[in-house]
Amino acid sequence: MTEPLKRPSKKNPQKRTVLPTLPPHARSRKALAFTAAAAEGVLKLQQCAACTHITYPPREICPKCWSMDLSWVPVSEGGELVSETTLRTSINTHFRERMPWRIGTVQLDAGPSVLAHVHGDVEAYSRVRVIARTDKSGQGVMMALPEKETPNMADDRQLRALTCDPKFRRVLITDGRTELGQAMARALADAGASIVFVGIAEAWRPYAGSAELAGIPGVEIMPLDITDTISVEELAGEIGGKTDILINTAEYVRPGGAMERDGVVTARDEMEINYFGLMRLIQAFGPGMKFRGADGDNSACAWVNLLSVYALSNWAAFGTTSASQAAAYSLSQCLRGELAGSGVKVMNVLFGPLDESWRQPLPPPKVTPKRLARTVVESLQQGLENVTLGPVAEDVVRRFREDPMVLERELTQIQLG
């Protein structure tokens, strides 16, 4: 049974911070498709189009029929642990610091036998559920979990290395003025975050839900205006060394395309918050988080960007907002590249129309702020990096992956009705 995680004690400032080291990150290009699926929490293996054989490790050719037509498909997570060992030495520095480490061979129901990390609650030779996740190096790996939930399962040391569980971590929510920011604060507090810092710009201006927000246990209201470099730097100076998860809830959304606008004032406001705001946060909080990727049970672990799915492909109805979201999405990838090697994951949540005032005329289905908050918490607990939320977003992402050029045509067609 997993020992419940103990609340981390206050950090001794005289002690040296343990620097992030990484599990092996080198992979073949083929294996990156496994990683891409793992970043979404999906276990995908290669399947031969000609003979349906499922193969692993990643190959260029089907070993059964020599077809070159292998594609990545989601497979059953079921399997059986057929052998296991607990490593007590490793030649890799990252693992050496974390011994003992349990691994095993799993015969997947899908066919292949695979190596996987093994959860402490898995019994010898039992049925397991094999999940695919990204590890601290950002590469996809498999882990065998007990088939059924066990007590304190998420606290398993090896599983927690793959997840970004908010339990006992300190979270910064960058904008608490909105229903979204407040729902996020409540969800993180409920998930066991030890502190939820909530940024509020221009605190003298009243806002709905302020009293309830301040009343959530663990919430600390902090002055933060992400359009103001000094404000962002001042807050980073105060809490940057203990921000384990940063969730950027700030957004600026206005309907309309470029032609409908007079000048660039609105577009500038959009960029100021959606793009430059993110950049200010990265510059102020990024280095500290990057340094603290291996800093104990409450290490820095995740940076969450909430983005409109139209960041992928512009929708003229919210044309300039889409453009600023696209800029933010691109910058988020830059951030992922810059945090590579730190063990801090960048999670992008692409969501469909949010149920809030600036998107009021849009028809359902919409994503409620509460639902978005819950999804962020669950995705952190699962250690995901790419999340798509809501039927609209799922639809757009699916079309985008099928053919981004066709999606571009679909989104720029003459709108009927």
């Binding site: 692993y56 057929v82 052998s83 030649i91 691994i103």
Partner: protein, 395 residues
Amino acid sequence: MSQKHTRRRTSYDGIVVTVPVSVAYERYSPEPAHWWLGRALSKLGESADIGAGDIDGLCASSFTLFPDTAVGLSQHFGLTPRWLDHIPTGGASGVIALRRAARAVQSGDANVVACIAGDTNHVDSFRSMLTSFSRFSQDASYPYGSGGPNGSFALMTRDYMNTYDVTREDFGKLCVAQRKNALNFPTALMKSPLSLEQYLDARRISDPITLYDCVMPCAGAEGYLVMSEDRARELRLPFARVLSTIERHNAFPDDAVQIRGGWALDKDEFWDMAGVAPCDIDLLQTYDDYPVVIAMQFEDLGFCEKGTAGEFIRANTFTTDGSFPHNTSGGQLSVGQAGAAGGYLGIVEAIRQLTGGAADNAVAGAKLAAVAGFGMINFDRGLCSAAAILAGEDA
């Protein structure tokens, strides 16, 4: 893996192996692999009293020779061979080199082939070798704790012990016997006796594997010559004949965990070709990085039934002075694992035993030796298996 179209194989009549040389191993060496391979070659020259002009075939194996291969060695060593091979099969390279070289000599493509294997061991060599060992290991095994071979063999050992009647004491007996043999082998890196208690109480490495199940990576080199019997007589070199050989790669790919090696596919042909039976063998050299693989070789080569290695171990001593002499120099477990030279250790020792070159650890009256090789954990299992039966000159 159908055998039905296999034609009857030509024998190795008239082909011999000779001049076994070992370059004393060192735990760490600042010298490059080229030095170790070069020293093996120069020892071959000294021992046979021949020079570059007499060697027209070169076969080399090494993990640490980068950026060179056997090609670069020809120029480095001042050889102008008309036959060249570079064999990347690790622990199976010694037997596989013999197969290749024997056919080259038999067909007249070469007269004298120098077979050499060697590796250096710098302080960080082993780690960097494992980091980029193979694509499959890079993608699918190294990221899981980076235990290297310890982890892979632990998984095999666990499964084997779970399936068959074999105990830690049985595996320990093999390691203890090899250490006893090594005490008579002057260049073994392990020089102190090992008791079963020490084996059982040793530091855990990767359950159920403990310290004395593991080989110690080191620097070293091995070599031998392949030539015609006539040539060996001209040069007055004591030699051994080649009675049969087998090799196999990626056998039983659908076994979830490796519990047998490719020998099991080829063992009938192996004994038929030699015209001898397992009970005729005077000494066996197995590939021994981890005792579980030794057990598989006992079974899969036919020295005992599958699943009965435990019983077989309990029934023999495996020492040079006892029953079923095995890994008579101490094997890699006690001599050290010098990279690809580990794949040559057994064959070189077998030639020594059959040519009167094994001094204090000689097996009395040894005439027939079997040698097996095993190599390359490409992902989760050893892909290469090989074996040979050698006979002394008068056998």
